[in-house]
């Protein structure tokens, strides 16, 4: 049986997803997520020793395309969708210390 999800786990996941949750919401989602995970834990009860791992639900492999250039989008059209543009580039807020 996996460990129960804690309020700290939920706070961490919320932080990773850039969600600002109130204390009440943390409480609420901890309970809800625990219920979801309990449901998933049912699978753990099954004996799957003889079942090969599935890397994809669709039984396909090697779906490939040839290395041939196709037209790109018109830049004006692309940049028209952006909230802010400068020097033909997307202008975004600073991202201090968050580079991957």
């Amino acid at each position: 049986m996996p460990q129960k999800i804690t309020r700290d786990d939920v706070a961490h996941v919320a932080d990773l997803a850039r969600l600002a949750l109130s204390d009440d919401e943390l409480e609420q989602f901890t309970g809800q997520l625990a219920a979801v995970l309990d449901h998933a834990a049912d699978v753990e009860a099954l004996d799957v020793a003889d079942v090969p791992p599935t890397s994809h639900p669709v039984p396909l492999e090697n779906v490939l395309r040839d290395d041939v250039v196709t037209p790109s989008l018109d830049r004006a059209e692309v940049l028209a969708q952006a909230p802010a543009v400068e020097d033909d580039r997307f202008r975004v807020p600073p991202s201090l210390g968050q580079e991957p």
């Binding site: 250039v69 790109s72 830049r75 997307f90 600073p94």
Partner: protein, 486 residues
Amino acid sequence: MTESGSRRGADEGGTKQWELVVGLEVHCELATATKLFCGCPNQFGAEPNTNVCPVCLGLPGSLPVLNRQAVEFAMRLGRALHCTVEPSTFARKNYFYPDMPKDYQVSQYDQPINAEGHLDLPSGQRIGIERAHLEEDTGKSTHVGGGGRIHEAGHSLVDYNRAGVPLVEIVGRPDLRSSEDAKAYAAELRAILLATGVSDAKMEEGSMRVDANVSVRHPGEEFGTRCEIKNLNSLRSLGRAIDYEARRQIDLIEAGERVIQQTRHWDEADGRTHTLRSKEEAYDYRYFPEPDLVPVVPSAEWLAEVEASVPTLPAERREAVAEAAGVTPADAALVVERGLDGLVLAAIAAGADPLRVLTHADHNLAVEGADALDPRALAELVTMEADGALTATQAKTVLAEMVAGGGSPAEIAGAKGFEAVSADALGDVVDGIIAANADEWDRYVNGDDKTRGKLTGFFVGQVMRATQGNADGKAVTALLEQRRGG
């Protein structure tokens, strides 16, 4: 070794010896025509945001389709690094940073396409390769305001032309023990990338990017805490950054502090590394399988084709030259790097003295068109030189003519008026010069080694003038010594 001491960090200061431990992670952009998952051009230096489409912009409803050529390049590189090619899958690496419009990067995680290989340095040292996997490159952010430095930026501008360009990330084992070895590893990997044709491997354009994991320890101890250094745009930066970082870590430990695991940014201008972020606050990337891509399981036929496309590698080429010339593989490194090994081997096969051929290739053939030389003509030239028909300087001049315009060395030497001075004639010239410079000769015969060294230069110069440069300097020196003794 002319660089400021790869071992400076390891030997200086403190009573106990320090050992440097380095592992490199190298990202290289593959030389495909298009991106990894869409048909946008894979092109350096295009106008910003012109090579973009719904797939690489991460627009809703778009779906990636894997580029066959990228897979093939990755496998070819894997085999060149002696990896096994495995069935592989893709995963999403999730993070919030505007260089990927999707907020995740498609990479390979638990099932990489290449696993467990190695790379042999010219010195013979073998460096382990943990994996070499496929992933997509990110867009390019430019930080504006605050002097352009990332930690001071006011805002950022993003160009997505590079987003989705195919990369292979080559993860090396921490088997390197000096900055010189690290540079040799990066240079050898670059040579392999070029030889296999999978990447143009230009560090200055970012098509080959090196991150260094650096730690220090006392020999025989467990690995120390490591720091990862980014922003290394040249082999020189790589060497400097590793030496700086090793020194920094040693100073910390010797001051009774501890190294904190973190990612650091190399600043070439001030010659230091700076904290980018601590590992404690590093991302939990929440990798999960990419549902839009299916596994890659190369057939035996495809693998055989890839295997056949792997060219003879630099290490094997160095071995071949070393064997033919009776030198060490390290001595053969330069000619292989210059692509002159074929010429050298053919000239040796045509009967030329191997060491003289290597000397010419190392010193006189670092020029455009040298690889097109007729090896038989080179062999002929080297033989003329060995027989004393040409001096070393004359041979060099004739060789330059041969590279520029072809032709036979005998004809070029004839046209230039290079005539071998016979041993008898040279002896007469030397005797004449000695007679005409009795004072200098007296000091040559009776002076100390330093004086004699200076006067050797004087006498050789006089003989050269008398023979219009047709005398061999070494032969003149030998005659002077003979006259002194006799």
